[in-house]
């Protein structure tokens, strides 16, 4: 009974993906007849060839990768440095900084003021608009701070004895000791940027800068063709369209699906560190 309920949960989670993969790999005839449910019929990779050859999608893919790589590095560096400083209770104005940071979880400037301010900084239609406005996540900062305050004092003190400053201690001693939590936060930031649709919608007008999520939305939700000819194959436009859309969804989700199981053992641990002290 218990096992079958949980098996149902697993099925409900995975079936949509299985179905999309099966349809996107099947030949038009079978998709048209609607007899694809679990595995592909008339296996072929044509949809994936079309998706990967499409100039808009490959452009967006490269953009997304750029945003993720630059943004994650930037965010991880800033937040871990900030969190390390916050974990030092003796730091000047520590409480004030903490209060200022936590307050933003409960009150915010809202969509329009944020948009106008970002615009006034000149970030509209630049790569930075995908990186700076979401550079630090307060949750991630708290998780990191809690982790750093749990590190044994002796280790850091040995560094101090050797004449390291706080900055030296942070880079040479604390960061190498924190690989698990850094991997977790790295994953959170990377996924956040990979999935970020909101910033792109607000701050990007230039189609050459669009990340994958925007192109995917334009393709799927607005039914726009991505490239000439991309949707004009096969007999029934609509059905073929469907497998093309599924293929695009799979292509844009695959990196997350692939990396995620390997990092899982890190992130459950990492998240719990944060939830202990909140």
């Amino acid at each position: 009974m218990l096992i079958s309920i949980l098996f149902g949960v697993v099925l409900a989670t995975l079936y949509p993906f299985i179905y999309m993969i099966a349809v996107s790999l099947s030949s038009d005839v079978h998709v048209l007849k609607g007899d694809v449910f679990l595995w592909p019929k008339g296996l072929n990779f044509r949809m994936y060839e079309i998706v990967l050859r499409d100039p808009h999608i490959s452009r967006a893919y490269l953009n997304t990768i750029l945003y993720v790589v630059v943004g994650t590095t930037f965010s991880l560096l800033i937040s871990s440095a900030g969190a390390f400083a916050l974990s030092k209770k003796e730091m000047f104005l520590n409480r004030t900084f903490t209060l200022l940071i936590v307050f933003t979880m409960f009150f915010s400037g809202g969509m329009i003021p944020t948009f106008l301010i970002v615009k006034s900084y000149g970030l509209i239609d630049t790569v930075w608009s995908m990186i700076l406005p979401t550079a630090v996540s307060t949750w991630n900062l708290i998780i990191l701070r809690t982790f750093f305050s749990g590190l044994p004092k002796e280790v850091e003190e040995s560094g101090k004895m050797d004449g390291l400053t706080d900055i030296g201690t942070f880079f040479r001693i604390v960061l190498p000791l924190s690989k698990a939590v850094l991997a977790t936060i790295c994953l959170f930031y990377a996924v956040g940027i990979w999935n970020n649709f909101f910033s792109a919608m607000l701050y990007l007008r230039d189609a050459d800068l669009f990340p994958l999520q925007v192109v995917l939305r334009n393709l799927v939700l607005e039914g726009q063709a991505t490239a000439n000819g991309a949707t004009s194959i096969g007999g029934d436009q609509l059905i073929v369209d469907e497998s093309l859309k599924f293929a695009t969804i799979i292509v844009s989700t695959v990196p997350i699906l692939l990396i995620y199981p390997f990092l899982q053992k890190y992130f459950t641990k990492g998240t719990l560190i944060g939830s202990v002290k909140g």
Binding site: I5, V10, A81, F92, T104, G110, Y121
Partner: protein, 320 residues
């Protein structure tokens, strides 16, 4: 700009009572730490606090060319406009109901799932279910919304194929205003229920195994153990999550509603943030939109403070 300085009496008192190193020493000692925190604080000031000051444009007639500070003051004009608008009631109702249903159905799902997982004895199977159920949390809203739209499509969606196979007429789900909330809440549970079990599973591991032993000796079966040992054990975690969820009832993510709604479902789907985007940002009514932004922020703050206050009065758990 004028700055005012209010002395912190308590802090001064403390300083007077015990001999302390002057703040210059503390500042000097912290100089490297302050350097490390500088980029973080710069981020919060530039992207969180400056926009908060930007909220003043809701009391002004914002003009793109004059900028925020030079635009003329108009007092509460835009607030009156919003409160008197026929959209006001609909937006409040939609935002509240969507948040309320999300809370009602979305809150129990991860608790039940965590309790079920806790009963699983096979460690491998447990891990497998966990891994799989966390997965949707990492899928983007765009992908989830795309999946919903494609699966529910009246012409080619798999759900309608099934409905037709059963011999019924296909349903145009996304065009039916009364379907929107259910679709939103169900897809939300699919996305988040697994991930939200993490906190409960952590609380469950902290329950003392001896309690189960003594419950067994007292003749409690599995269900009674659940009722009298497990649930009280995770009650603090449940309360914390409940406070957070009640506090964010009106704070529904913009993205998914925006991606799922369309003019034919505005009647139930249009919420405060999507309305701000459409009328404020897209049509350039910046001051009007900002008035609604500030109104929403105040409501959200009031909700979280009230939820925390009630919880502190009725139980011993609270956020602060």
């Amino acid at each position: 700009m004028k700055t005012t300085f209010t002395p912190d009496i308590a802090a001064l008192d403390e300083l007077a009572r015990r001999p302390r190193k002057p703040w210059r020493v503390s500042l000097n000692r912290s100089k490297y730490l302050l350097l490390l925190i500088l980029p973080t604080m710069l981020y919060y000031v530039l992207f969180k606090y400056v926009p908060m000051f930007g909220l003043v444009i809701s009391f002004k007639d914002y003009n793109l060319f004059k900028g925020i500070w030079a635009s003329p003051w108009v007092g509460l004009k835009y607030y009156k406009m919003f409160f008197e608008s026929p959209d006001f009631y609909v937006l409040i109702r939609n935002t509240f109901l969507l948040g309320f249903y999300k809370l009602l159905f979305g809150f129990a799902a991860p608790i039940i799932l965590a309790l079920l997982l806790n009963e699983v004895k096979n460690a491998f199977f447990k891990r497998f279910v966990q891994t799989v159920s966390y997965l949707p949390h990492f899928i983007s809203n765009v992908v989830v919304a795309s999946m919903v739209l494609l699966f529910l499509s009246p012409s080619s969606g798999v759900v309608n194929e099934f409905i037709q196979w059963l011999g019924f007429e296909p349903i145009n789900f996304m065009m039916e205003a009364e379907m929107f909330r259910s679709i939103y809440v169900i897809s939300d549970i699919w996305q988040n229920a697994g991930w939200e079990t993490i906190i409960y599973l952590a609380a469950l591991t902290a329950v003392d195994p001896q309690l189960y032993e003594s419950a067994k000796i007292d003749g409690a079966g599995r269900f009674k153990q659940l009722l009298y040992v497990t649930l009280p054990g995770i009650a603090p975690a449940i309360v914390i999550v409940l406070i957070l969820n009640v506090g964010s009832v009106m704070d529904i993510g913009f993205e998914k509603v925006f991606l799922l709604y369309n003019p034919s479902t505005f009647e139930t789907a249009d919420i405060l943030s999507t309305y701000v985007y459409r009328t404020g940002l897209q049509r350039g009514n910046y001051s009007y939109g900002t008035a609604i932004d500030l109104f929403t922020s105040v409501i959200n703050l009031a909700f979280i403070v009230t939820a925390n206050w009630i919880s502190r009065k009725t139980s011993e758990t609270s956020l602060w």
